[in-house]
Every structure is written in C-alpha cells, then in structure tokens.
Amino acid sequence: MTRRSGAFAMATASMLLLSAVPATAQDATAAEGGLPVADCAAPDKAIGVAVFRFDNEYLSLVREAIGAAAAAKGAQVDVVDGQNSQPAQNEQIDLFISKALPAIAVNQVDRELANVTLEKAKAADIPVVFFNKEPLPEVLSTWDKAYYVGAKAEESGAMQGQLVIDYWNAHPEADRNGDGVIQYVMLSGPADHQDAQIRTVESIKAINDAGIQTEQLQREIGDWNRAMAIEQMGAIYAQHGDAIEFVLANNDNMAIGAVEALKANGYFGDSGRFLPVVGVDATEPALESMRAGELLGTVLNDAVNQGQATFNLACVLAGGGTPTAENTGYAIDGQYVWVPYVPVGPDDIQ
C-alpha cells in the first residue's frame, strides 16, 4: 500500500510547498497561490461546510483555505462547528438539508458514522463532499454524488521515513555507536487514532525497506501535545542519553516537545550538539524550529489543496456537474481526490 516518493513526486512536492506554505502563512487568495480554480458558476445559495471541530489546528487551516477558495470564486459558504459531537453535527446536516443548500462538504466527526450523513444527503439529492475524515469505502460507493477529499496517511509515515533515510545516508556521524543500526525513540499519538498507528508503522517500514536496520529504544504514547512530549522525552533521555540516534514523532507538536526536552539537556542552539528529530504536519512553529536549526524535518499535510479541492468539487457538484480533472483541477480517482503529503527537509527551508 505504501507509495514511495520518487524523484518526480519530490520535485512536485517541493513546488507545492513553495506555493502552499506562504499561502497558509499570509492568507493569500486562491488565485494568487497558483491553485486550481474550479470551472463552475458560483451557486445562488451558500455551500454548507460542516467542520468536526473549530479548535482543531489543522482543520482551521482547511477551513481558511475553503473560505479563500470560495471568496476567490465569489461564492458563499456556510461553515459550522460540530464541536467534536456527532449528534450536534447531525443536527447541522439536517439544517443544511432543510435550507436546501446546493451542495454540502462534511468533515465527519466520526468517520464510521458517515453513512448517516450520506443517506440524509442522498434522500434530499444534495451532493456531499466528505473531507479529511474518510467514510468507509462501502458507504461512499452507495451514491455517485458523494466524494472524498483527503490524504493517504501511510504516505506521511513513508515520507517521514524518507527524511530519516536521507539524513542517515548523508551523515555517517549520525550512527553514534557505529553499529549501522538506527537506535530510535518513537513518540506516538493516541493508540486508537488511525493516523498515529499508520505513521508509527509506515515510517519504520520505509526505513527498513531501504535496507537500514532499526532498533526501537523506547516508544511512548502521547496526546499530540507538547507538554506531555517534553516530560516523556525528558525521562527517555535521562534513561537512554546519547544512545538515542533519532527521534520520530507522529506530529509536530510532539516533535517540538522532544526538541524542547533535548534543549534542556544541552542540545541545539549554541551548544553545537544536534540530534535529528522529525515530525509531521509542517505547522508554523515546526518550520520556525527548522529554520533555527533544531527540528530536522516534517511532512506537510497540505491543508490549502485539501480545502481548495473540497471547494472545487462542491462547487461543480452544486451546479449539477460531474467532477473531472478538467473542471476541478484535481485528479479524480473514482469518488476520491487524493491530496499528496509533501516532505519538508532541511533543503526546503530557506
């Protein structure tokens, strides 16, 4: 299942990064960012957008991107906050349907319950674009006006693994004990989170597939946040010290937590001591940390293109059309649009 990132993908990725990162950072409109503009007329009514929770950092970027895409098109969007409650979101979907909106975009609270949303939309013949949280394939396939826009989680793990491989091959001194094996620490997200499981497994699998042996010194389960990661890494470092050759974290918050803990143990900055830490998400704090020479790398989950693709599909569907690569600007794989992750390594940061 793992899609390895070839040279072409890397090149495209770097180009995407150049356009995507400034776009999120500076509120650029869709047109300025060089993003694909949908070939559709702005619908009379707003397109309904249900987000699973407004206080989620990543979804806030997607929300921002959907808003920017709509503004560039002169279309309206009605964006609502599901407050991480599926019952609350169901009521919001009902409201959208009673307003007879031309299309809805849904970031399902509970992906396993997307069938409820789909059946409601189907009964009212309102096209639905799911985004970021993938409905089960057997659910999505029950209606041809339902689509999914998202990323393949295994890609993020594989790309993170590639960052490790690149650094390892270019820096013989990274093998501190000279045994040819990467001794690493893994900071995982919650055990029941799909992305956490996939990233934990796929990153190491990519490294092993490249012919490099690994040894896990310790794995801790965190809650995606910095404070807990600082404390975990503090204890792990106290135990393993300089035996650690790499730190992999399932997201940037935890990666930065590890960096902070290592700073407290005399790494980075003026110390001249470095330990490679990689994350996922490419949040602004992570990019800043990379610029400061601390964090080694991260993987961008491309919120701008996810938001743009979601809007483009919804806009085309609202006008009664069928989404194609031509009218949306994104490759349509059946009922899916896969927005690629983008690796961000030391060379991608100015």
Binding site: A235, Q239, E260, T283
Partner: protein
C-alpha cells in the same frame, strides 16, 4: 474578624498531619503520613527496578514537571477546603497561556498573533493574563457565594465559558487557531532557565512553584483568612454564626485560585515555548486527584498545603518514573486510578476509626 469556638480547631485539618514519632507509635505515624509512605514506596520500587533512577537529574525533572501542576492543585485545593470544587482551572490555564504567549512573540517570528504589536515589558502580558483569570475567579466566587449556585455547576459553566473565550481569542485573524510559537527569550527563561545558587543550579520554574506553596502555607495555615476558609469548609452555618464574612471569603478563595491558574498558564507557555487553545485541558481533574490523594477532603474543611504538594509529587513520580523504566503507558493510568481510590478509601476508614 476573629473567630472563636471549636469549629475550626486543629482537628478539622487532620487530612495530612505529620504525627509526632516521639510520642506516637510507628504505626500511627505511618497512618497519619500515608501519602509520604506511598511517595517513598514508589521511589524505592522504581529504584529497585532501575538504580539509575536515583539521580539529581531525576529529582530536577520530577520537580520541573510538577511545577505548573502544583500551582493548579493549590488553586483547586483552597477551593476544595472551602467546601467547593473548581472545574474551571484547566481551561483558565489554557486562557492565560494563550493570552500571555500571544503578546510575547519575538518580532522576527513569521506568524505573529499581533503583527504590529511593539515589544512589551515582560510583566505586562503576564499581569493581563493573570488579571483575567483572577477576574474570572471573582465571578466564580460571586456566583457561588451570592447567587448560591452549587460550585460544581458554577465552575462547570465557567469551564465552558473560559474555553469559549480562549477559542474566540485564538481564532481571530490573522492567527486563525494556529498554535502560537516563537515566544520571547525572557518568557521562556521562566520555564526553562536556571537559577545559580552556589554549586547548585535550580530551575526557575521550581523556585516559582515552591514560593507559591510557601505563600499558600502561610495564607491558609497562619492567617485569620486561612482559618476562616477552614471554618467555612468545616461548617458554613457555624462559621457564619461566628462572624465569618462568607461571601467575601469565598470570593477571595476563588479569586486566589484563578490567580494560581493564570500563573500556571503563563508558565505552561514558558516551558513549552508556545500555546494553543487546547492547553490545560483536564488539568483540573489531575489537580483534584492530587489534592484528594494528598488528604484534602472533597467534603471541605480538611487539607494541608504539604499534602497537596505531596499529592502532585506522587503523580509526577509515577509518570516520570514509569516512563523512565519504559513501562507501558496504559499501566500508568491504572496505577494512578488505584492510588486515587486507595488513598481516599484509606482516609475514610481512618476517619471512621478515629470517630
């Protein structure tokens, strides 16, 4: 406002009372200091598993990890002693973290919360953050004491309100709910800096938490105000009859708690180098757990500052120690739960025996 009578004599504070080994038997001493025994037992057990655990580094890490939690627990503790409960602590930590971090970013950071804000003196944003949470504490106190809303409900409402305020503040353009980072050196120094004391270097954050604990000890256990808090917690009617101004005292209690959460939030931003609206989530429950394990009664009137500090340390030792020796993190949850229930069950059985 002197209070006389027997409503708040020393026995009302027996939650975690160091016994006197010289006069009492060892068994009684252990009974009276169960939390200390648990703490030492935990450290010994972890050290037997891995002797490297006993080191200055471990002590420093555990105390550092405890610092913000001690502040939250002191706030939660004073409210519990007054026969209340405060569920809004965690969200106030988040509010103060976001507010202080948003105004203390380096000018070179690429995603500024306030792009045009001039460099402010460090104390100003900190004072604003703590001022806001103190004010919310005053509101808690007014709602509880004046409107007679049960503390559980009043602070549940405030918990939701405080998060709403944080989320609105955090979501405003150009930030749009992105994590705040790039905080200034002078703020992060509070969380990660060291204070040189001769050959020792002590993290500043520990000094701050320690100072707060000492101030609390004086306030609660050495002043008339403190006696009044215990009196209200022990028996509000009797306290009122004895002339305690219940409304004013409770407002002060919740305001002091709010100030603690505010300071904890500022330090949380300082030690993590940033903030987001999710900061402090569920810290109030950790704090309440630490308090009850440290001998604070959820029925009010009982509890001591050193018990609260010991309660926080127990959980910090568990979390650090078990990570240090690489135990499956889910076991930490089970051990924590067992200790919470066990400590209170032990206290209850002891209370029955002494009656």
């Amino acid at each position: 406002m002197t209070v006389t009578g027997t409503t708040f004599d020393d026995d009302t504070r027996r939650g975690w009372r160091p016994g006197r080994p010289s006069r009492a038997s060892l068994g009684e001493w252990i009974t009276a200091n169960v939390i200390l025994v648990v703490l030492v037992g935990l450290i010994v057990a972890i050290a037997i598993y891995d002797t490297d655990f006993i080191s200055a580094n471990s002590v420093r890490n555990i105390l550092t990890n405890s610092s913000t939690r001690i502040l939250v627990a002191l706030g939660a503790g004073i409210v519990l002693i007054s026969r209340g409960v405060d569920l809004s602590g965690g969200r106030m930590v988040g509010l103060a973290a976001v507010v202080s971090a948003s105004m203390l970013q380096t000018e070179t950071y690429s995603r500024q919360f306030y792009p045009d804000l001039p460099a402010l003196p460090l104390i100003l944003p900190i004072a604003v953050a703590i001022g806001i949470t103190t004010l919310l504490g005053v509101v808690n106190g007014l709602v509880v004491a004046r409107l007679r809303v049960p503390p559980f409900i009043a602070t549940l409402g405030m918990m939701v309100i405080a998060f709403g305020m944080t989320a609105i503040y955090f979501d405003q353009p150009p930030n749009n709910s992105q994590p705040i980072s790039g905080i200034r050196e002078d703020l992060s120094a509070l969380g990660t800096g060291q204070l040189a004391l001769g050959p020792l270097s002590i993290p500043i954050i520990i000094v701050i938490a320690g100072t707060a604990a000492v101030i609390f000890w004086v306030l609660l256990e050495k002043t008339v105000f403190g006696k009044n808090v215990y009196a209200i917690g022990g028996n509000p009617q009797a306290a009122q009859v004895s002339g305690v101004n219940i409304v004013r005292t409770l407002i002060a209690v919740y305001a002091i708690a709010g100030a603690c959460y505010g300071l904890a939030g500022v330090l949380e931003a300082a030690r993590t180098g940033g903030a987001s609206s999710r900061y402090g989530e569920l810290y109030e429950l950790d704090a309440i757990a630490a308090c009850v394990v440290g001998g604070v009664s959820t029925a009010g009137g009982i509890g001591r500052v050193r018990g609260i500090v010991a309660g926080v340390l127990v959980f910090a030792v568990i979390s650090y120690g078990l990570t240090f020796i690489g135990i499956n993190p889910f076991w930490q949850q089970i051990i924590k739960g067992v200790i919470i229930i066990g400590a209170v069950a032990f206290d209850m059985s002891r209370a029955r025996r002494t009656r």
